[in-house]
Amino acid sequence: MQASFSRTVHAVDQAFRRTFSELFGGGRGRLLGSNGAGPEGGIEIVAQPPGKRLQSLHLLSGGERALTAVALLFAILSVRPAPFCVLDEVDAALDDANVVRFRDMLHALSERTQFVVITHNRATIEGAAVLYGITMGEDGVSRVLSLSLP
């Protein structure tokens, strides 16, 4: 159990280095095992956005936190692809440049994982193959419209 856990952490760390610097357009991401390899060992996340010094996670901005978390999720998905993944407004805090890098990586991962993405971001919508619009009637009932893509 322990050996396979350490192997997984190592593989996800390798993937995280790549997803982090691709999503941030530079910088360094690392995953480190803490407290030894025993059963109570944890996982430290190191995130160093481009042009910044190494700092602790609580100093990251709102958008940097969201992008770091997405980089970690995408790293796990590239090591152990889940058949599908639902993302509910994970791009809400991202600026325009980061949304585009997020969309592009989503597209690359969608070869092996299906994504259902709930979003208000135009750039994310443009990357989808199918688009559903949800409306709420005066009667408090939600309805679904299949929209054609822009």
């Binding site: 796990i76 889940a82 994970v90 989503l106 709930i118 989808a128 688009l131 409306t135």
Partner: protein, 162 residues
């Protein structure tokens, strides 16, 4: 394995039956505030066997059943079906299409079905365990929750991936 179809009837704001078919790649869901988008994410988690009503923004089981609206009476049941398509038998069952159905009634009774046959919750959880439950649905506002966890609490995420 891939996600083919989602069917909702009586689940939260979906009083009338709706069906969404999913593409191989990326499906985007859009709409105004309060229209029902996150309710769709909740429906998927619920159908996969989610037991904690708090993580579905509810306080009790009946919070997922359509509670009525202007000119609309409350319903007595909520039902969600999720259809998956598999190559081979990676989900451990001899069918190409597998439909997981969950129902709950106002009196609290719960039903779980696989391809129309009543099963136990344990059977559903066994089926969905291989889908990577910890990272299948990332809820609204929760994307960076993993950064706030203590290092030891992050093990779960990796053990599932192991």
């Amino acid at each position: 394995v891939r996600l083919k179809r989602l069917y909702l009837h009586g689940f939260k704001s979906f009083a009338t039956p709706v069906e969404l078919c999913f593409d191989r790649g990326i499906t985007a869901v859009v709409g105004p505030n309060g229209s029902g988008k996150s309710n769709i994410a909740d429906a998927i988690r619920w159908a996969l066997g989610e037991q904690s009503y708090g993580s579905l923004r509810g306080r009790q089981a009946s919070d997922v059943i359509f509670a009525g609206g202007p000119g609309r009476a409350p319903l007595g049941m909520a039902e969600v079906s999720l259809t998956l398509e598999q190559e081979g038998e990676s989900l451990g069952l001899p069918f190409t299409e597998i439909t997981v159905t969950r129902r709950v009634f106002r009196d609290g009774e719960s039903h779980y079905l696989i391809n129309g046959k009543r099963v136990r919750l344990r059977d559903v959880l066994q089926l969905t365990a291989s889908l990577g439950p910890d990272y299948t649905v990332i809820g609204q506002g929760l994307v960076d929750a993993v950064l706030s966890q203590r290092p030891a609490d992050r093990r779960g995420l990796f053990e599932h991936a192991a």
